[in-house]
């Protein structure tokens, strides 16, 4: 046996080895080369998509220039197009969804990983994750037939009664609008955020909990002082995942948001998202400018998603830098 291994070592490495980034072992080199190829494939795909969308939108860019981003006009008959109401609708509906979903999702995650009796953790966690398996058209139909009437007849009047002095909760309650759209998005991103958060919390070393308990901390203090700070960047990551899903969601929100390209201060008012307008109008758009405008919306959705992700990453970076300084 030892003889065999020495011959293996003295065998000359193949000539193509350095090309794959390998130094001695062909297996390592092939593995490294293959995984690098796959990683680059994703980058290439992303760039190709961005390029293709930019190319498809040239006609619209030539016609409307940068004004496309700040124009509120969307008139397919007169061929006047502007993206602002859609950008607004996408960003605000996603923020509404995060505002509702994050506290609930973190609550679920903390309960399941810290407080719930052991026999309960698995089944409840499983049920929450099952929410993610419901197709979005089902959420949409449920939204039309159950959520929208409930919003119009019960929730929105109640909100107006208590918080009606805010412009956010004024105007007619029709059940279809920004708030309903945001709410259905919240339900859809809830399982994503809560299940990732639960994993993150479970990865927190037990000695942090034990240490805090030993210092006389209560259950809540253990979570607040011992667990959450350690898991902070992972939790932000979970929220970013949820945000990504909210930004790109199409079917359910299209069925509930009211599909009017208008900007209104009220959350009861109908709105429109970028993904929705593409889904609604692309199949039947025949005018070149109309198609190009929709492609430009797709490109902008790409840009908005990227921008929000960068902002979120910066946030995480800021948090972890403060931690390193001893801000904990």
């Amino acid at each position: 046996m030892p003889e065999a291994s020495t011959t293996a070592i003295t065998r000359k490495p193949p000539r193509w080895l350095p090309w794959l980034g390998g130094k001695s072992n062909p297996g390592d080199a092939v593995f490294r080369g293959a995984s690098r190829f796959f990683a680059l494939l994703v980058v290439a795909l992303l760039l190709a998509m961005a390029y293709e969308m930019a190319r498809a939108s040239t006609a619209s860019f030539k016609e409307f220039g940068w004004g496309f981003i700040i124009s509120r006009e969307w008139d397919p008959v007169a061929e006047q197009f502007g993206a602002l109401p859609f950008i607004y609708g996408t960003v605000v509906s996603s923020l509404v969804a995060l505002f509702i979903a994050v506290p609930v999702a973190l609550g679920i995650a903390i309960y399941l990983s810290e407080l719930a009796p052991l026999w309960l953790r698995k089944p409840v966690g499983f049920l929450v994750e099952l929410l993610a398996a419901v197709p979005s058209v089902v959420y949409g139909l449920w939204g039309i037939f159950v959520l929208a009437p409930l919003m119009a007849q019960t929730i929105e009047p109640a909100l107006r009664k208590t918080l009606g002095f805010l412009p956010l909760f004024s105007g007619p309650n029709q059940g279809f609008g920004m708030l309903s759209g945001g709410l259905v998005l919240a339900i859809m991103i809830l399982p994503t955020i809560s299940s990732v958060s639960r994993e993150v919390l479970q990865a927190v070393p037990n000695n942090l909990r034990e240490g805090a308990t030993a210092l006389g901390a209560t259950r809540w203090e253990v979570v607040r002082v011992g667990v959450l700070p350690y898991a902070r960047s992972g939790l932000v990551g979970a929220i970013i995942l949820g945000l990504g899903r909210a930004l790109g969601e199409t079917m359910a929100i299209t069925m509930l948001i009211g599909n009017r390209p208008e900007i209104s201060a009220s959350l009861f008012a109908p709105s429109y998202t970028m993904a929705s307008v593409i889904a609604n109008e692309f199949t039947e758009a025949t005018a070149d400018v109309h198609l190009a405008a929709l492609a430009e919306i797709a490109f902008l959705l790409f840009a908005v998603t990227l921008l929000l992700n960068i902002i979120a990453r910066l946030l995480v970076w800021q948090v972890s830098r403060n931690e390193a300084k001893g801000g904990r």
Binding site: E73, W74, D75, P76, V77, A78, G140, L141, I144, F145, A148, P149, A152, P172, Q174, G175, F176, T254, M255, G258, N259, R260, P270, Y272, S276, A279, N280, E281, F282, T283, E284, A285, T286, H290
Partner: protein
């Protein structure tokens, strides 16, 4: 156990891979043989591909399966990707025939490499549905309908609505307007009608598959509009007739050009087509038709075919299928809530189908 697992999977892996490869090879071989057969045999199978409008899809797919039962060697596939997609694909030549609810625009026709024909295949209508407690058989004048969608009429007890509904107590309720947010032929037909009966609509909104709506909430698809109307008191919306019938919606009667109030029905839609002469292009708008008993928001749905087909076998099969569709096929329409073409129109389409050719050869006797 743990140490054994990888050996077990490795042992399993080889047969699985081999089986998969074998399957792949036979699959490729099979399809290769198939196409070889087609090249040699003269009376082989013909498969035709079409794409386009979603509105006539249930009827077309019924036609295609029925036709295939009678002519087992002809297989017709139809992708209901929307009229816009159908037009794009027939222009690009990636399908044998296209289908569209609205006739192609002049700009689109200019993009065609060869003469392209519209073949009227069936008729459809757009029903006005509403949700109003205790009000059955609502009657609407064109002015009232346009006013509702323009936002100038905001309450159900408006004088414009009341004057056509004698003896009906209309509630003092706001009107919630629902429209199709997805681009659709239904919207095109509906807006075509409103533009004919209201100059305000024509100037401010216009005609198209997607519009800048003065008022209302956008809902996706017929099911979305139905959902909004069903769940909102005081709502009004428009849906395809077939959809309105099958989902038992309350529909309004509309005043036609002859002054009658007509509820949407298959006969009333055929009457609308009979009341409007079909020009040489075989395309026309039959909204606000002057015909007696005509339902005013009706329209043709068209198949799109090139006059000259390169592949004679395919061309013949397609021409024969269309011949069958405008004769025997029309009898299947009513069951699926599509209106059959009037006899005069069938005669005109016959003439057009006889013009179809492949090179010098006429495709139909």
């Amino acid at each position: 156990m743990k140490a054994k697992a990888p050996r077990f999977t490795r042992r399993l892996l080889a047969p699985v891979v081999v089986t998969l490869l074998a399957l792949l090879v036979t699959a490729c071989k099979g399809s290769g043989e198939g196409s070889g057969e087609k090249a040699t045999a003269t009376t082989g199978d013909v498969s035709l591909n079409g794409a386009g409008a979603t509105f006539p899809y249930p009827l077309y797919s019924k036609w295609m399966s029925e036709y295939n039962k009678q002519n087992p060697n002809v297989k017709i596939n139809y992708q209901s990707i929307g009229s816009g997609g159908g037009i794009r694909q027939i222009l690009a030549g990636t399908v044998d025939f296209g289908a569209s609810d609205a006739p192609m625009s002049d700009d689109e026709m200019k993009k065609a490499p060869r003469t392209l024909h519209h073949i009227p295949a069936t008729l459809g209508g757009v029903a006005i549905t509403y949700n109003l407690d205790g009000v059955k058989d609502l009657k609407l004048s064109p002015e009232a309908l346009a006013g509702i969608y323009l936002g100038t009429i905001t309450k159900w007890n408006d004088a414009k609505i009341a004057e056509t509904n004698d003896g009906v107590t209309l509630p003092d309720q706001g009107i919630t307007v629902a429209y199709r947010s997805d681009g659709s032929g239904t919207t095109a037909v509906f807006s075509d009608y409103l533009a004919k009966v209201s100059s305000d609509w024509k100037d401010k909104v216009g005609v198209g598959k997607s519009l800048k709506w003065p008022k209302g909430l956008g809902a996706k698809g017929n099911e979305g509009v139905t959902g909004q109307v069903k769940t909102t008191k005081g709502a009004v919306g428009y849906v395809e007739l077939a959809y309105a019938i099958t989902s038992n919606l309350e529909v309004a009667a509309l005043k036609n050009k002859a002054g009658e109030f007509v509820k949407p029905s298959i006969d009333a839609i055929t009457a609308a087509a009979a009341g409007e002469a079909l020009p040489e292009s075989l395309t026309t708008s039959i909204t606000d038709s002057p015909g007696k008993g005509a339902y005013p928001i009706s329209s043709y749905s068209y198949l799109l075919v090139y006059e000259d087909t390169k592949d004679t076998t395919k061309g013949e099969a397609l021409a024969k299928f269309m011949w069958w569709a405008i004769h025997d096929g029309q009898k299947l329409a009513a069951d699926l809530h599509y209106a059959p073409l009037p006899d005069a129109v069938v005669k005109q389409v016959e003439t057009r189908l006889k013009q179809l050719k492949s090179g010098e050869k006429k495709l139909l006797p």
